[in-house]
Structure formats: structure tokens, C-alpha cells
């Protein structure tokens, strides 16, 4: 990002006809949404909206540890270190968008972020200032059909409607594949844009049985790439779905599909596209996550841009990665409708001559809503409105999830599990999605669904040996802290309730977790059984009630929530890591 220009524009005052009349009471600082086109083709990128149709709050992490090569490297910087690395002014509206700093007061000052009605106005404006839909593309990196109650109840259909109205041209996926495969195909068929994935193929058995595929010679389940013509220039877009979906999420919904990073296939595909299609630029629309994308950019040549998602990192300054064929620029566009990435390309004679990238924070109070989208959202929500708006309790604490270890909302879920299922210890998955609730706000059923609505929500309570619990923690810690990003499976650390431990992220597999104790201080014995409650089992369906029923029941009884103890581990050997502020 060109900071000087951004800052100048921030203070420039009245701009663009998209601002609502009543927004200025909140703050004297206004974001600038007037971006004249640079170059001759504009790509707009959104990712990981997690089905948040309405504006919400979303707090960025204070723990996002990077180790080895990733130490202090984007996106593993938080708080002040983030501001410094990205030349963002202290206490600015940008600082609020990209970091957790002064979250409560800044959230009150600047208001909610995202929302499809506001996104729609902004995207229309960004398209029209670049010559309209003829010269622009809207790319969606996925995690669009999951994350809200209405998406869960409609099996993603509400989001397909909203994405169609928003005008999404191309998308790829991850949580999309947590619906049954037939439902995924039905949604893809209803989607007006193209659904791409070079790294999803039918298993050999499924191919043999003649299951649905895009191409039975190559085995691709979905179209791997597309060519779009913008302003007379040919742009190749390759889809890269989340490579570890059948490991991180249940395989039982998509038994016929096999994933993986497939960097060798990607290299062959890039080479073939260059030879056969002669595009002016090659873009990978990726759901790998930032660290995987950075490594991919180093090992695969010929890609101009990797527009990334999955890890929810708001990255204002893209990372330029050198490789043996030249360079690849890697971005990540955050989550929850909070950002729109604007990539202006200057293409000439089959070549990329230059580019300009901006990651625009979407502050809903500063953007007029789009009436048509507002009407669609109202129609989607209408049958469920009473259920969604039920106020279960009031929170005195800020409730959020995002971060390597327990967020306060995770702690609430873990406390609810222990209390309602009468367990000593609770486990909750380290997802990156889930909206934020401010102190003093009512916790609605919708908030609970924002944190929990998955297609495998069933809870369990069972006896586990101390060493089994350790094995789980070690396994998940390795999926997060493995030195090679291609071996990182994709989520944050499993959240725990009722127990404490020491974690050394820098240690080797099997040696990161130590000194496990119960909340009462007693050591967890490797050979003793403990009653453990949890949810979101990937192997087989758990027997208990859905997690949102457990949490809602707990909240109705609690009436007031105040999170005083967080079961985050005590960390070792990361004292000077710029990816952590405690």
C-alpha cells in the first residue's frame, strides 16, 4: 500500500458519493473509498466472509506466532509491531481495522464492519471507477457458505443468492465442502460465477464408479482455471481450495474427493496455461492460508499473484516472493467482510507492467447500504428473526475468538461444556471465524451461532486418559507450529477448559506440551481417566446435543457473563516474538 497517499486521502475530507449522510457524528476521521483506477484491469478480492450478511464486530488477534522463517514476517506481527511493520499511524482508523489495539473504544467510535449491503455499494463504486464490470472482476476466496445461522439452516443457499447479487465472478472453497457433496454441487449449480479448484480430484474408486466430475480424464471435480478477458487483456484465474479439508473437517460429507496442496500439478497447470492460453497475467485465488501461499510462491514459478485467504490475515502490504522464474506477489484479505482487496493491473502486450494493491477496510457506518441487497438479507432473515434475536445473557467482558490460543468466547464455550455436561475438562476447536461481542452487549442466539454453527456440531462427554489428552494437544500443536508450512494443517490451537499447561511452540513434535494440571492445581496423571467434554468431532458423529444448545442453555442460566479466567497455556521460548502480546 502507498501509505503516504492513503494518509493524505484519509484526511482529505468529503469524497465519493457513497457515504451515508448521517455517518460523521461518530468520528472526525473518515476512510477513503474513492480509488481512481491505476492501469487497465481491476481485480476485487474478498475472502472468508463466513456468511456474515450483516455488519458485525471483529477483533484481530494479539497472538499470531511465527517461528523459524516466519518469525516477525507478515502476517506474524500483532499490535504495535504490526503498526510499525506496515507504517500504520497509531490510533488511526486503519490501526483499528488491522489490530486489536484499543479495541473496545475504537469499535464504539468507528462502529461495525462489513455487511453485504455495504460491501455491495462499495464494490459497485470500485467497479464503476474502473470502467464497470467489463474491466473488473470480483473474486471470492471461499468460506462464504458457512458461519451464520441462516447459512447453516439454508445449507449455504442464502449465501449463494447473496454472492450472486453481489456479482461474484469466481470463487473457490473450504467450509463449502462441509455440506454433503450433493448439496455442494447444487450450490455450485445455483452460483452464477465459476467455482474453481485445481487441487480437488475424484478418488480412483469414485472415478471408476462414474461419480460427477468436471473432467473425467483429469479427474478434476471442479473446473481448475478460467480465462477472463478484461479491457482486451486475458487474465488466467486458477482456483486453489483448502488443501486439508478432509483432514481438518469431516471426510464423510465428501467421501469421493481427494485434496492436497498439489504444487507439482499446479506448476504443470501454470506451464500449460502459459503455452496454450497466452494470458497477460496468471492469478491464483487461494484458500491455502498465508504461510502455505508464501511457500507455494517460492516453489512454483510463473504465477503473478496469489490472492489468499483462510488465515484471516488483514495484510495491507503484499509480500513479494522471489523464485527461480521471477517473483510472485502474495496477499491475504482478512475475514468476515471486513476488507476488500483492490488490485489494479497494468497489462501491456502479454505482460504485467505494474500493479497497485490496496486492502480497504469496510466500515459500515461510512458506506450507504445497497437497497436491493438489504431487501434480500431481510427476506433471508425474516422467518428466523425471533430465534436469531433472542437475548440469552449480557456480557461484561469483550468476547472474541481469533488468536493462536483461547479467546474469551472460546473460554465461554469451554465453561458451558464443562458445566452442562458435568466434565472436568473441555475441548473446543481452534477455528478462526466467529464474531466479536462488546462489553455491555446482549449475547444473542445469533452470536452463539456465529461461533458454533457447523454441520458436525454434536457434543460428547467421555473418559480420556491423561496421556490421550496430551496426545491430542501435541497433535494439534504440530499442525499449528510445524516448521514446514506445507505440514501445517490449518487451524489454531485446540481450546481447553478446566486445565492448564505449558506450551513451547519451538519444541519438536511430542515435546511442546508439558506440566498439564487441572484448574484445582492437581497434576494430570498420564494413566488416569478424566471426564472430557467437547464438540466438532471429524471422525464420526458424536452422540450429544448440538453445541449451540449447550451454550444457549448455559447462558440463559448465567444471565450475566464475565470471563475472569482464561485457560491459555503458559508459553515458553517466544518471549521476544513480535507475533505475541500478552
Amino acid at each position: 500500500m502507498n501509505r503516504r497517499e492513503f494518509n493524505r486521502l484519509l484526511s482529505a475530507g468529503a469524497i465519493a458519493g457513497i457515504l451515508p449522510k448521517s455517518s460523521f457524528a461518530f468520528s472526525s476521521i473518515k476512510p477513503n473509498y474513492d480509488l481512481p483506477q491505476k492501469g487497465n484491469a481491476r481485480l476485487l478480492h474478498i475472502t472468508d466472509c463466513h456468511a456474515q450478511l450483516n455488519p458485525i464486530y471483529f477483533r484481530e488477534p494479539n497472538v499470531n506466532i511465527g517461528l523459524n522463517q516466519a518469525f516477525g514476517r507478515t502476517p506474524h506481527v500483532v499490535g504495535e509491531a504490526f503498526l510499525k511493520k506496515n507504517n500504520v499511524t497509531q490510533s488511526s482508523i486503519e490501526a483499528h481495522a488491522f489490530t486489536y489495539l484499543n479495541f473496545n473504544s475504537a469499535a464504539k467510535e468507528y462502529g461495525k464492519i462489513g455487511g453485504f449491503a455495504h460491501l455491495s455499494t462499495l464494490i459497485k463504486s470500485l467497479r464503476s471507477s474502473a470502467g464497470g464490470t467489463e474491466n473488473t472482476l470480483l473474486l471470492d476466496g471461499g468460506d462464504t457458505w458457512q458461519g451464520s445461522a441462516t447459512a447453516y439452516w439454508s445449507r449455504g443457499k442464502d449465501m449463494v443468492q447473496a454472492a450472486n447479487l453481489l456479482g461474484v465472478d469466481v470463487m473457490t472453497g473450504h467450509w463449502e465442502f462441509t455440506y454433503q457433496d450433493e448439496e455442494v454441487f447444487s450450490n455450485v449449480d445455483d452460483f452464477n460465477g465459476e467455482f474453481l479448484a485445481q487441487n480437488i480430484k475424484l478418488t480412483e474408486d469414485a472415478l471408476f464408479e462414474g461419480k460427477r466430475s468436471h473432467d473425467e480424464d483429469t479427474g478434476h471435480v471442479f473446473k481448475p482455471y478460467t480465462i477472463k478477458e478484461l479491457n482486451g487483456h486475458r487474465i488466467a484465474i486458477i482456483g486453489q481450495a483448502f488443501p486439508y479439508t478432509p483432514v481438518a473437517n469431516p471426510k464423510r460429507f465428501i467421501p469421493d474427493w481427494t485434496f492436497g496442496i498439489q504444487n507439482q500439478d499446479l506448476q504443470e497447470l501454470v506451464n500449460a496455461i502459459k503455452d496454450e492460453e497466452r494470458p497477460d497475467a496468471i492469478i491464483v485465488l487461494s484458500h491455502n492460508g498465508m504461510d502455505v501461499d508464501l511457500k507455494l510462491a517460492a516453489v512454483v514459478t510463473g504465477i503473478d499473484f496469489i490472492l489468499g485467504g483462510h488465515t484471516h490475515d488483514g495484510v495491507p502490504i503484499p509480500v513479494v516472493v522471489k523464485n527461480s522464474g521471477g517473483q510472485t506477489v502474495v496477499t491475504n484479505a482478512g475475514s468476515n467482510g471486513k476488507f476488500v482487496g483492490v488490485l489494479d493491473l497494468n497489462l501491456d502486450n502479454g505482460q504485467l507492467k505494474g500493479y497497485e494493491y490496496k486492502l480497504l477496510p469496510v466500515f459500515s457506518n461510512f458506506i450507504e447500504h445497497d437497497a436491493e441487497m438489504t431487501a434480500l438479507i431481510a427476506e433471508i432473515r425474516k422467518p428466523h428473526l425471533d430465534t436469531l434475536t433472542e437475548e440469552l445473557a449480557v456480557t461484561e467482558s469483550l468476547l472474541y475468538r481469533r488468536g493462536n490460543f483461547n479467546g474469551t468466547f472460546d473460554q465461554l464455550i469451554c465453561d458451558a461444556l464443562r458445566h452442562e455436561l458435568n466434565a472436568e475438562i473441555s475441548l473446543s476447536p481452534g477455528f478462526r471465524w466467529g464474531t466479536t461481542v462488546l462489553p455491555g452487549q446482549a449475547i444473542t442466539f445469533e452470536h452463539v451461532m456465529d461461533q458454533t454453527c457447523i454441520t458436525y456440531p454434536e457434543t460428547y462427554a467421555r473418559d480420556m486418559l491423561g496421556n490421550e489428552i496430551k496426545a491430542i494437544l501435541e497433535d494439534v500443536a504440530d499442525n499449528l507450529f510445524h516448521p514446514d508450512p506445507f505440514y501445517q494443517q490449518g487451524g489454531d490451537m485446540v481450546r481447553v477448559g478446566g486445565m492448564n499447561y505449558i506450551c513451547d511452540p519451538t519444541a519438536s513434535f511430542g515435546n511442546r506440551i508439558s506440566r498439564m494440571t487441572l484448574d484445582n492445581g492437581k497434576t494430570i496423571d498420564a494413566n488416569k481417566y478424566y471426564k472430557v467434554a467437547g464438540w466438532a468431532t471429524v471422525g464420526s458423529k458424536a452422540p450429544g446435543k448440538p453445541i449451540w444448545e449447550v451454550v444457549s442453555s448455559y447462558l440463559r442460566n448465567q444471565k450475566v457473563v464475565n470471563i475472569t479466567k482464561i485457560n491459555s497455556p503458559e508459553l515458553r521460548n517466544v518471549k521476544n516474538n513480535p507475533g505475541i502480546v500478552l
Partner: protein, 152 residues
């Protein structure tokens, strides 16, 4: 190609009942290499199979196997090479109770390109060894077997 991949695969299965398989298992050539298959350490398995554990790492051995297994019970693995005079292709899983998992004899004139599924007891290094012109060439990769879950 006028014939689809699915039809081709179907034809192969129908045909395979009537013809000999292209790659004949080692047992048809010699006594079952029981010493090699029963060895519990990779070094012993190499020695018992090849008479040597002197492996030269080579990028000419094209090993394709997932970095994280979707199912540790059936991990797809394929090995190919453009090397000449290939005699055999073998697959070893370092931390399996018996590391030697499969060995394929490659008769002269056969394209050295095999694929199969292997079972991993736990996270382990998988090594493909190609014997060509009397020498041993290898390529290794770690394959992670995880309990899964928690993905972003």
C-alpha cells in the same frame, strides 16, 4: 482421445482377468523376499533386499505422496523416473513395524511408473528406492498422520 478414462478403466478390469498383469510380483521371480519384508529396521530391510544400504539421494526419483495423509490406512503413493535400466522400485516406511512395504520388479522395456496405496501406522518418512544399472537411488518425504480437526 475417443475413449473416456472411465471406459478405459472399465476395459482394463474386464481385460485383466484374461491377461497377465504387466508388473509381475516379485514372488513369481524368486523366493519371497521374507528376510527383507520381515526386517524391523530400514537398514536391515535395505541390506536384505538389495545386499546393500548404500543409497544415493536423487531428484530423478519422482516420489508423489501426500504431506498430510487424508487416511493413514490407505495413502496413495506413486513413483516414477526417467532413469535408464531400471530393475526395481521399492517403497519403505521408516516407522512402520516392518518398513519394506512393496517392491516392484521392472522388466526391461517397461516404463518405470508405479502407483499403489500404503498403510502408515503413524507419522513417518516414506522412502522410494529405485535400483537402476546396479545402483540404488532414493527419494524421501515425511508423511504426517494426524487425528485431524480444528481446521480454520
Amino acid at each position: 482421445m475417443a475413449i473416456s478414462r472411465r471406459k478405459f478403466l472399465n476395459m482394463l478390469t474386464i481385460g485383466s482377468a484374461a491377461c497377465l498383469t504387466l508388473l509381475t510380483p516379485i514372488s513369481a521371480f524368486a523366493a519371497w523376499a521374507s528376510d527383507a519384508f520381515n526386517a524391523t529396521k530400514p537398514e536391515d530391510a535395505y541390506k536384505n533386499l538389495f545386499g546393500s544400504s548404500d543409497l544415493a539421494q536423487s531428484d530423478e526419483v519422482k516420489l508423489k505422496v501426500p504431506k498430510i495423509a487424508e487416511n493413514g490406512g490407505a495413502v496413495p503413493v506413486s513413483v516414477k523416473t526417467s532413469m535408464k535400466n531400471v530393475e526395481s522400485i521399492s517403497i519403505f516406511v521408516k516407522d512402520n513395524p516392518q518398513p519394506l512395504t512393496a517392491t516392484f520388479q521392472i522388466p526391461a522395456g517397461t516404463i518405470p511408473d508405479i502407483s499403489t496405496r500404503i498403510r502408515l501406522a503413524q507419522t513417518s518418512t516414506v522412502t522410494a528406492v529405485i535400483k537402476a544399472g546396479g545402483k540404488l537411488y532414493s527419494k524421501s518425504q515425511e508423511v504426517k498422520v494426524t487425528i485431524g480437526g480444528c481446521g480454520g
